[in-house]
Amino acid sequence: MTATPNMDFVNDIIANGGESVNMCYQCGTCTASCPSGRQTSFRTRRLVRMAQLGMKDETINSDELWFCTTCYSCTERCPRDVAIVDIIVAMRNLAVASGKMFEGHKKTAQSLIKNGHTVPINDEVKAQRKALGLAEVPPTVLANKDAKKDFDKIMKATGFKKIIGE
């Protein structure tokens, strides 16, 4: 099988913070530093190689793309200063843009849109807050309707709802 590099994919990664992708010389320091690679089938060096080769379908449809915790261990040690996390984030953005998003992630994104926060408030925490002498609802967009409206406008301007497939 011969694979043709998808240069659009490589260029998209480069345009979205992954300028350094072609600096990688495949030493494997990243894989050796990766706590996720110790627990899962994810291999950082391999993913960077797949990015260089423009393997769009193989990367954006893989679960492994989402096994990185963005811990930056690899980035700290890379001898070529490759911005590995930025490259992974760029590929994740492209995966989401092409409609590939997991349910758990979608829920977090929906909560951000709805509440302005990634986790919702509940009665239990309201009671705990009250008992501590804190405002029942935290003093953020949660308690400030005008600020939430502004936040909504930002979300609308970036088209976040559409991006997450809502």
Partner: protein, 284 residues
């Protein structure tokens, strides 16, 4: 030193899952002369591991809104979470370095009549105490010295990426250990101290079994190192260890945020620490 004043950036996990961290931070800051003002138009930072992974532009626009609001109020931002710190610090850095990006983001902020000029500094509670307040002042405020063996947990986004954070050695740091030891406690050595807790990057929300493997490896190293308490500086690491131990067998190490440890050491009432929100019981 002039009295430092900050917009208190709450984030999501602390106020909505561990309100004791918010309360302890307020009390400790007040005792140490750090003036916090409520940041009552702030939203989520937004979370770097998830929201930035979904759409970088949404992430930086929403982060820039928070930065611009603080700038308008004439205060810098104080965070108590590595996620918030990472997000807002990194966003401020990117906007500082990239004039094109700043322009693009400002066209979005213009929709709500805001502009970010690039003047907000983003700080973390722990480094403000370490760098600005100083451990001498902390030691003077300790009324209830703690005889505890502690596993310090720095998390990832406090020190890293170290080329922009410039706080401490990312492979072998000591500032949190010194901050913990200022209370009389002992920071215990352990294997692989800088390993990630596993929660970040969307791993916990979608592949929690894998996240838990990180957590278990950390817990084992902490236990082998002789620690009896975990002290973190990030509510998300905090949640991962506190809730994680309920699911895993054989571990019951109380988890405290640095603010809670300090509140305890400064003699504040235990009830003020919000420990009933913890799933791993805190019996100290």
């Amino acid at each position: 030193m002039a009295k430092a004043k900050y917009a208190f950036f709450l984030g999501c996990i602390a106020p909505l899952r561990y309100p004791g961290i918010e309360k302890s931070t307020r009390d400790v800051c007040s005792a140490l002369g750090i003036d916090l003002v409520d940041f009552n138009d702030a939203s989520c930072c937004p979370a770097p591991g998830v929201i930035r992974s979904f759409d970088r532009k949404t992430w930086i626009a929403a982060a820039a809104r928070n930065l611009a609001l603080a700038e308008k109020a004439g205060v810098d931002i104080l965070t108590i979470c590595n996620g918030c710190y990472g997000s807002l610090f990194d966003a401020a850095h990117e906007l500082h370095e990239d004039a094109e990006l700043l322009k693009e983001v400002n066209t979005i902020l213009a929709e709500i009549g805001l502009e970010y000029k690039g003047g907000t500094t983003v700080r973390h509670f722990a480094e403000v105490i370490y760098n600005d307040v100083g451990l001498d002042k902390v030691k003077k405020a300790i009324k209830n010295p703690l005889d505890l063996k502690v596993a310090t947990f720095y998390g990832c986004h406090f020190l890293k990426p170290s080329d922009i954070k410039k706080l401490d050695d990312p492979e072998n740091p000591s500032m949190l250990d010194k901050m913990v030891e200022a209370t009389g406690a002992t920071s215990m050595y352990r294997k692989d101290k800088m390993m990630c807790c596993g929660a970040g990057g969307g791993l916990r929300s979608e592949f929690s079994d894998y996240a838990m493997k990180f957590t278990e490896e950390n817990l084992k190293n902490m236990k082998d190192g002789g620690a009896e308490v975990i002290v973190d500086i990030c509510p998300f690491c905090h949640l991962q260890f506190d809730r994680g131990q309920k699911e895993l067998k054989g571990y019951s190490m109380p988890v405290l945020h640095l603010s809670q440890l300090y509140a305890l050491a400064m003699g504040m009432d235990k009830k003020e620490l919000g420990l009933d929100a913890h799933l791993t019981p805190v019996k100290l």
